[in-house]
Symmetry: D2
Amino acid sequence: MTDIKATLLAQHIETPSWAYGNSGTRFKVFAQKGVPRDPYEKLADAAQVHAYTGIAPTVALHIPWDKVDDYADLARHARELGVGIGAINSNVFQDDDYMLGSVTHPSGRVRRKATDHLLECVDIMDATGSDTLKLWFSDGINYPGQDDIRARQDRLAESLAEVYDRLGGGQRFLLEYKLFEPAFYATDVPDWGTAYAHCVKLGPKAQVVVDTGHHAPGVNIEFIVAFLLREGKLGGFDFNSRFYADDDLMVGAADPFQLFRIMYEVVRGGGLDAGTGVAFMLDQCHNIEPKIPGQIRSVMNVQEATAKALLVDREALAAAQAEGDVLGANAVFMDAYNTDVRPLLAELREERGLAPDPMAAYAKSGYFEKIAAERVGGQQAGWGA
Amino acid sequence: MTDIKATLLAQHIETPSWAYGNSGTRFKVFAQKGVPRDPYEKLADAAQVHAYTGIAPTVALHIPWDKVDDYADLARHARELGVGIGAINSNVFQDDDYMLGSVTHPSGRVRRKATDHLLECVDIMDATGSDTLKLWFSDGINYPGQDDIRARQDRLAESLAEVYDRLGGGQRFLLEYKLFEPAFYATDVPDWGTAYAHCVKLGPKAQVVVDTGHHAPGVNIEFIVAFLLREGKLGGFDFNSRFYADDDLMVGAADPFQLFRIMYEVVRGGGLDAGTGVAFMLDQCHNIEPKIPGQIRSVMNVQEATAKALLVDREALAAAQAEGDVLGANAVFMDAYNTDVRPLLAELREERGLAPDPMAAYAKSGYFEKIAAERVGGQQAGWGA
Amino acid sequence: MTDIKATLLAQHIETPSWAYGNSGTRFKVFAQKGVPRDPYEKLADAAQVHAYTGIAPTVALHIPWDKVDDYADLARHARELGVGIGAINSNVFQDDDYMLGSVTHPSGRVRRKATDHLLECVDIMDATGSDTLKLWFSDGINYPGQDDIRARQDRLAESLAEVYDRLGGGQRFLLEYKLFEPAFYATDVPDWGTAYAHCVKLGPKAQVVVDTGHHAPGVNIEFIVAFLLREGKLGGFDFNSRFYADDDLMVGAADPFQLFRIMYEVVRGGGLDAGTGVAFMLDQCHNIEPKIPGQIRSVMNVQEATAKALLVDREALAAAQAEGDVLGANAVFMDAYNTDVRPLLAELREERGLAPDPMAAYAKSGYFEKIAAERVGGQQAGWGA
Amino acid sequence: MTDIKATLLAQHIETPSWAYGNSGTRFKVFAQKGVPRDPYEKLADAAQVHAYTGIAPTVALHIPWDKVDDYADLARHARELGVGIGAINSNVFQDDDYMLGSVTHPSGRVRRKATDHLLECVDIMDATGSDTLKLWFSDGINYPGQDDIRARQDRLAESLAEVYDRLGGGQRFLLEYKLFEPAFYATDVPDWGTAYAHCVKLGPKAQVVVDTGHHAPGVNIEFIVAFLLREGKLGGFDFNSRFYADDDLMVGAADPFQLFRIMYEVVRGGGLDAGTGVAFMLDQCHNIEPKIPGQIRSVMNVQEATAKALLVDREALAAAQAEGDVLGANAVFMDAYNTDVRPLLAELREERGLAPDPMAAYAKSGYFEKIAAERVGGQQAGWGA
């Protein structure tokens, strides 16, 4: 149990700056009170999540949504709040030029512009001390014949190679895949196989990131996690949950058992060991629930799943597996899942000087009332700003 | 063949005013040149689609996107352009009050507001002469436990009953169902069964509308069409196509064989007969392709599928079916599908005094260049306006 | 808590005779040791499940797999073992005549034969005292055009009406729906809406049965449960679980959170109340795990989900829902799910004089060793016998 | 057009010996008249398919279903019938030992047995002159925790390496992937990425085979085809079609447009060029339709899709794509698809001395009546024999 507690204390979950802004569906973005107007306010909110959970010490940025004049100053601001800058997320999907693609666009001019943006993100990594670049390409086509699927792969490879070469010593990029949306017929990086194949060719600084909402129905995500870990190509997670498509609900909200199975494969594959570099990031929206408690709940959900995964009696499991004892092995696995780990985690928090119930503690803190009163006027942050 | 031509000439496909405005995904709406700024300009564009296809004589409105001070004037404007006002589409998903639902919202105040909007739509039907109200509810919940699934049905039933009672003599409403989006856990009208059950209780003026993009993967849409026609409850279609979720691509673009099978069941069930009241409406977006030719192509796709469906040798089919001749029956069916009906439709257009190739004729007309030059300034129409 | 315990004690889960026989996929049926050779031995095995769980007092039969000369004798045998005969399941999919359908077959002769089988099942209900007939039709077509979708509905309605009329006073039938398999293009009762529409027309003795493995990906099953309960048309469940299609795994094994959500809607809708007639039946296979413990585990999984559903603090939930407190309502819901109910259920069993751990108690009993030694020779039961 | 005809004449589609035997679902295998009793009779039936289509000159074997004492004699028999032996398909899913896996089984004894079978298949390749081994592993687990996902990859890699090393100079193996069935929780080779990663490590004699029915809903198969061709790792196809899962219906029957898109990517990627080694194989069942005409129809469906793919005006397409003309590019693509190629193919057949309509010619030939009369008694071939 001491080991489990130590591992849980060492776990580090990154929250995304955009989770604190407004978000929604194509039908409507509902504005909420107290939403940050700039990256400084986003970091302040993220610091609250860390303050109550104790395991969310870094914040991912999204460029250009989090563009500032002085990144060193932003990093300093973060440090003062007790958090640090995490991964830099590129954005090559919101400029009018990208209607038909970014790095895979038929036009060389657009591709140049997109790749330049990616290189700029590496500059920002240098300025902020971030070691991770996250690449998601919305590139794809809506109609059969619209563009050449294969030529787009050539263009993608070319751009990735240029960015890869620009990476500094301690830097890496994570390539994200997604089945569909916003492209609806063919996506240029639709699955882990595509991301993996590109990353293998590029080298060790290129790894795959698994967004838990980016798969076809029925795809076994923990298999992918196990496979990528075995290959040394699992760079990290973008956690969220979904019932249907890429719903971006709070991680663990739709299928907590799946989250447990994923975390078990992480544990099994050594992904929680020091130095493996598996990044545990949230990438989700809070369309209708309040943002900060939404993030706190999400961090707690990952932590609970991790605790359960660590509780699996691996010796008993291995024995049952070796004997081909189907029900016995499954029972060992389910025993851990069915355990209520909330008392253990409350204890852990108290040992660390935190309130045992982060949700209640945040609610009582008055922080929301404060930002709701103070953050009046200005342009609330959202996906478009 | 004469019969087939007559049936094709009588077919009537309604285009939606919102197809002429900008649209997109939650990630980005790409603006296009020449997009209408108001309902009058939308009608002008819709009239082009009818001018070149000859079978798109009505236009659906969306309230409040198409709100005007004088609906009689709008209807007159439409008539002058050679088109008419079709279905009135309600919108209870874009007001800030509707974050947690409209007619199923826990708050009575919000429900009242939503129902009042629906009643206002009936007023607009009266003013424009429209006989059809289309009801789509984005209502639902994102998280298990968020609200009471059953109580929401009670509230839905109550609102529907009030609107039903308000309908005038020649009026009806069509209830639309949708699996998910924007609600991601439970949708209040998720499937045809739910819509059907409510409509049966309400009476003959309530019918189901089938949006071809609103089903779970693998659902057989033509079965639903056949079933609803058999029950006298098929009010019409919202046509579009999809590879994954509710992609809202051009109808027939993703699975033309499915469209043919749907149209075959319509033919089989008498849905093209005069007086059945099955409305053939488009409900789709043109995120990256130009709007007017996107609509022309869509209308042509429905027409081609209809022509093929009419070409099925039903006598031969029935004979093969009765004998249990699996391959023979399938072959009769596929013979019609594999026929190239484009020459027949070109001929039909020419007999009617239209250009044989609507796409080419529109492209040559200079209309796009004209609106691109004229429609400068102002606020382009989109889902939000 | 007293109420909860009383409700749990009153719950009754029916196991299916075919779960004790061999089963498999189209690729292979793996035989297991000790598998019953006849209905008498199946009942003996089912009695074991009841002996250790205390809540599985009835056994569903499948005709003709469980055909015997003297049903009264079989029922007597069951009573002696401490169990009773539950639902009678018809089988109109394994006779060579049914290749193209049973009650929807194009040939009147085959339809007559199929309907006669259903009527024979009612005779067996009379003979065994069973009050429930379960109807599943594998009927459907593999290829577009193969048969007339609509005419098949007419034939289905005709057969159902004849069976309905034959039902005695205290008898009912449950109509099962299934998305696909063994028919691969169009299934004649593919979804709950189809089953519901037929049942509504037939009357109160016809109800819908929800097999948890028979839906398209992403379909919200608890919504259907809530809806059918509201309509008074939920006849019962065929429980099992699945990751992909109709995998027929142990209920609760693939998505225990979904099972909890389903049971919550049952509780919410009064489906556990005395006299509602909602039947909780297992319908699953044990292709690779041993049969009896597979059934014990499954019964326990339903019981655990039921216990959690009963633990939901409905007053707190209603309050949070009324306030539109998304996170609060979800938290109340998840609190119940995250509770480890195994100690409560162990206590309950001990109060009833049962061993606290049914799996361990069965394993220690020596029953498996006994049947493995005794049941040698003869033809093991399976789907085909 | 001359080029197109030449390419079509050179196309070669392999039929599988097991398509001529009985098949079915887990619910029922319906026996048909005239079904072969041994591999010799299967080859005779396959020769009929080639006789009427002219493009099906080889037949895949399945071991042990097609085990014979003298493979040289079987190969000679094939040559006399005008056909040759194609790929050798291994079977490590039907022995009782394989209940929990074959090459990934926890037990070393079972793994040895399974690998030995694969090596035996290479012996049969030597004996028959076959140059292709097809490997499909049904291996996987049904329940979370049942076995160690990662260890199973280690075992898989070990077995594949041993088989790879045994391959002779002109020999290769094709590794097949499948999402699920018969394993229902985690499959050891579930997707193209897994197969690809193993093949890349093994070397040039290991390639991926794409079975068109083995993907999750919504997966874009033509993307995978384009990607694997670009990587030089597309070994071939197992063609069939599906509406839901792995339905194994006739290729082109469920989504002919998808088949066209796949064949377009094959053409685009040079997969029809001489020497690329892309194998076009059928792998499907005829559960309810007659076998030989089912195969003829399937071969014709692939041919029609290929003809349409070859008709795409690639110059016009490239021009529209380069201009970002979404509708224009799609229109060029659809023009080819909408063309009725049946007259062209009839002409082609006549030029080659074949009947223009293979289905009609076969039906008239009397072959079916002959085998139905002659093949009486004995054990009909099926998946189990």
